[in-house]
């Protein structure tokens, strides 16, 4: 073989080896494990912290059993505890960790129950001007058992 060709082939071979070496260093181990992405990122995203514990964890183990049994039978059962009482996972893991107190202002109830033209007509709504004389709703309505019977 002619020497200049030999040199060219050697350089080419070196470049290929260098490419393989650098690639093995740069590309993360799990890249391509499941597809054209870093497989470990699935694990990372799975291990993010949960903040909302779910209502069931409020009612168990004699913690808030009484209020839970009231709530779970009434019409506000579709509103989960943490919707008003703020995310509670930290509090579930450590009871000393306090929750943000629930907002019991008129406006907070109004977020769902003030009359709005865009809301479905069947949904219970009040006209804030005409109903309740600007009193806080919780003055008459128990948020855990909102209907009189």
């Amino acid at each position: 073989m002619q020497p200049h060709l030999k040199r060219a082939f050697t350089i080419l071979a070196l470049i290929i080896i260098a490419f393989i070496f650098v690639r093995s260093l740069v590309v993360p181990e799990s890249f391509g494990q499941y597809g054209w992405y870093r497989g470990d990122s699935v694990k990372e995203l799975r291990n993010l912290t949960v903040n909302y514990a779910g209502s069931i964890s409020c009612g168990e183990e004699n913690c808030h059993e009484n209020i839970y049994t009231v709530w779970v039978k009434d019409r506000h059962k579709t509103v989960n505890c943490e919707t008003c009482h703020s995310p509670a996972q930290k509090h579930v893991l450590n009871a000393r960790e306090p929750l943000t107190p629930a907002d019991d202002s008129r406006d907070y109830c109004g977020k769902c129950h003030f009359k709005r033209i865009s809301r479905p007509e069947t949904f219970p709504q009040i006209d804030p001007e005409a109903h309740g004389e600007d009193l806080r709703c919780v003055y008459c309505h128990n948020p855990h058992k909102p209907w009189f019977d």
């Binding site: 073989m1 002619q2 060709l5 082939f9 080419l12 071979a13 290929i16 080896i17 393989i20 093995s24 993360p28 181990e29 799990s30 890249f31 391509g32 494990q33 499941y34 597809g35 054209w36 992405y37 870093r38 497989g39 990122s41 699935v42 694990k43 990372e44 995203l45 799975r46 291990n47 993010l48 912290t49 949960v50 903040n51 909302y52 779910g54 579709t78 509103v79 989960n80 943490e82 919707t83 703020s86 995310p87 109004g110 977020k111 769902c112 709005r116 033209i117 865009s118 809301r119 479905p120 949904f123």
Partner: protein, 261 residues
């Protein structure tokens, strides 16, 4: 020494073959250890395929979903970026000569603080809320455009972002026809709804679904015949957003108006 065309081809082929096999050997050396391990421990993603249903007839526009999402996923609270948000559509009574409807569409702060009635009720023909969220398309444009493989669809049908690999080029934000992606200034990467992947793989519901007080949002497994979402898919009349784009969304809407885009 002269080199013939035949010799040149022979040597060239030999080099290419040896380089290719060398690469394969090196690759297999480095990837052997992890290839055998099955993904997310305690959760088999082959057995699930997630779907989402939005019943717009039930949405009251309270904004609990959007704020729960921000709290669960640590989305910057003071910035106008949302993984899920609520839009309000108000079709006005004024019909001009071309019989075109005049529609007001707004979403103040993503609907987190609710909506005020700022147009008199007499002027409005119909009004409704439409919750929006990432559609987790089967054929996702955002995944196609990513130049570095930082966004992908998992085997259980969720489109995710690899925050370590994302270079923040924002192509995906441009590529999403639903406007579901945003730029997270804290992370310096693109970001989006994950359907709360850290929750659903542990058997919990996504934060927005849990927070919805009226059941307008539903989430479930399309591979599970007893799930509510699967039942709705089988029995209700469902619509998709922008089906003409061929993105194959997995958020199914009930009761959408023709004005909704």
């Amino acid at each position: 020494m002269d080199i013939t065309r035949r010799d040149f081809t022979k040597i060239g082929c030999k080099i290419i073959i040896s380089a290719a096999s060398g690469t394969a050997i090196v690759e297999s050396m480095f990837t052997k250890g992890i290839a055998a391990e099955n993904p997310p421990e305690g959760y088999d993603w082959e057995k699930h395929f997630w779907g989402y249903v939005v019943d717009t007839r039930k949405c009251i526009g309270c904004g609990m979903c959007a704020s729960a999402c921000k709290m669960e996923n640590e989305v910057p609270f003071d910035e106008e970026v949302y993984r899920t948000w609520i839009e309000r559509y108000r079709v006005k009574k004024t019909i001009n000569e071309t019989r075109e409807e005049e529609v007001e569409i707004d979403s103040p702060d993503g609907g987190i603080e609710g909506f005020e009635d700022d147009i008199p009720a007499e002027e409005i023909k119909k009004a409704f809320y439409v919750p929006k969220i990432c559609n987790h398309c089967d054929n996702a444009p955002c995944v196609q455009v990513c130049p570095v493989g930082a966004t992908y669809t998992t085997k259980d049908g969720v489109v995710l972002v690899d925050y370590e690999y994302c270079i923040g080029c924002r192509y995906c934000i441009q590529g999403c026809p639903y406007g579901a992606r945003y730029f997270n200034t804290e992370k310096g990467t693109a970001d989006k709804c994950t359907w709360c992947y850290h929750r659903i793989t542990k058997g919990l519901l996504p934060a927005c679904v849990q927070a919805c007080p009226t059941g307008a949002r539903k989430f479930g497994d399309l591979k599970d015949n007893t799930s509510e979402v699967k039942k709705i898919m089988d029995e209700e009349r469902i619509t998709l957003l922008k089906p003409d784009l061929g993105t194959k969304p997995k958020v199914f809407y009930i009761g959408l108006d023709r004005e909704v885009r």
